[in-house]
Symmetry: C2
Subunit: 225 residues, 2 copies
């Protein structure tokens, strides 16, 4: 079957995917019908099924991929340049800023949890995203080790995993409560732990474990509303 897509066709397809993504973020997957997508993207059912013959399922997969790609993109170039403490801070700020701007919506949660069990395709997309994400964080840690700013005894993959988990949890809590403080704290504490890591080359860590108090003033309000 042809992958024959004219310029116009491709544009339409893109329009549908982007529009659907927006609706999913805004109203949730369950709360969005194909008719909604059609209306929002000024297209008709026939177009939708023309580009996504398998219907809703296929559209969901396409949106998932689209959103997953954006997640890492939005962290660039900071995520690829974790070679100094200010750079880590910049990345942290970028992540916080992105999710703060995004507010209550979130492609990740929407696609990960909202589909529930039983969608191997989506699972793969999310697994791939997490893997690449963690990989990039770990690369940053290794770069810091290479330049002596983090001690060699630190397990980069392990720390990256913990940091990613904290980040994800922060986002999750933000989605549930509307508060972004947990995300900030999780990142700050995670990066702080990195700075305070044993065997740190020399400077950079300041005192023994001063952590990264800079950025966020938040969180004394704890888990509050």
């Amino acid at each position: 079957m042809g992958a024959t897509l004219t310029r116009k066709g491709l544009a339409t397809r893109q329009r549908i995917v982007a529009g659907a993504a927006e609706l999913f973020r805004a109203r949730g997957v369950a709360g969005t019908s194909l008719d909604d997508v059609c209306e929002a993207t000024s297209s008709s059912k026939s177009q939708l099924f023309h580009y996504f013959p398998d219907g809703r399922t296929q559209l969901l997969a396409a949106v998932a991929q689209h959103e997953a790609d954006r997640v890492l993109e939005d962290q660039q170039p900071a995520l690829d340049q974790l070679t100094s403490w200010p750079a880590w801070q910049a990345w942290r700020d970028r992540v916080v800023g992105r999710y703060r701007a995004q507010g209550q919506s979130c492609p990740l949660a929407v696609l990960t949890s909202q589909l529930g069990p039983g969608s191997p395709e989506h699972q793969e997309v999310v697994v791939g995203l997490f893997r690449r994400w963690q990989q990039k964080i770990a690369d940053g840690i290794r770069a810091m080790q290479a330049s002596g700013q983090i001690g060699p005894s630190v397990d980069a993959d392990r720390r990256a995993g913990a940091l990613l988990a904290g980040l994800q949890g922060g986002v999750l809590i933000m989605l549930a409560t509307g508060e972004i403080s947990h995300l900030e704290v999780a990142l700050d504490e995670g990066i702080g732990a990195l700075r305070a890591a044993p065997g740190a080359g020399r400077d950079g860590a300041g005192a023994s474990g001063a952590a990264v108090r800079d950025g966020a003033g938040a969180v004394r309000d704890g888990g509050g509303a």
Copy 2:
């Protein structure tokens, strides 16, 4: 309208809530119809609407509350006795064990994300849960401080927030990927950071920052499948 519930009626109501909770966990909220609930709980539509006049919405709320209550219960008594390092380890093991056993399902994610935006009631339930959860962790940290096992300069609420975020993220990643290693690492690193905290009373922390290497051997496989 009466809160008149006979013993029998209460039992039926309970049966419906518990059955629905199980279905939601197994197939997701979206993938579960009221008819499914009826069949699974050996009850009829009229019963369902007798106990939940507002229908699906109200049932969802009841299940959310039910599940939220269970979350903290399942961590007891460990969660209320975080007064020594072994106790923290015990709690950590309990959490990991619980989620490992639970596998791909999860009331939290199901209820938090799957409802998407726009359900104030559920939001409240989850917010309350997170608050209590963080509170209990913070209480544990304070208890450790009171007995001199953690230095007084540590901000208990802040650390508890970060730990909770890591935990949540670990669970989220587990749901998405099936791997539990991130949860283990997040907890181990979080508790490890606590042990290594500056100004720690004296012992307990072992070396400067050896962290808690015990439990998990995992995670070198990174974000892998």
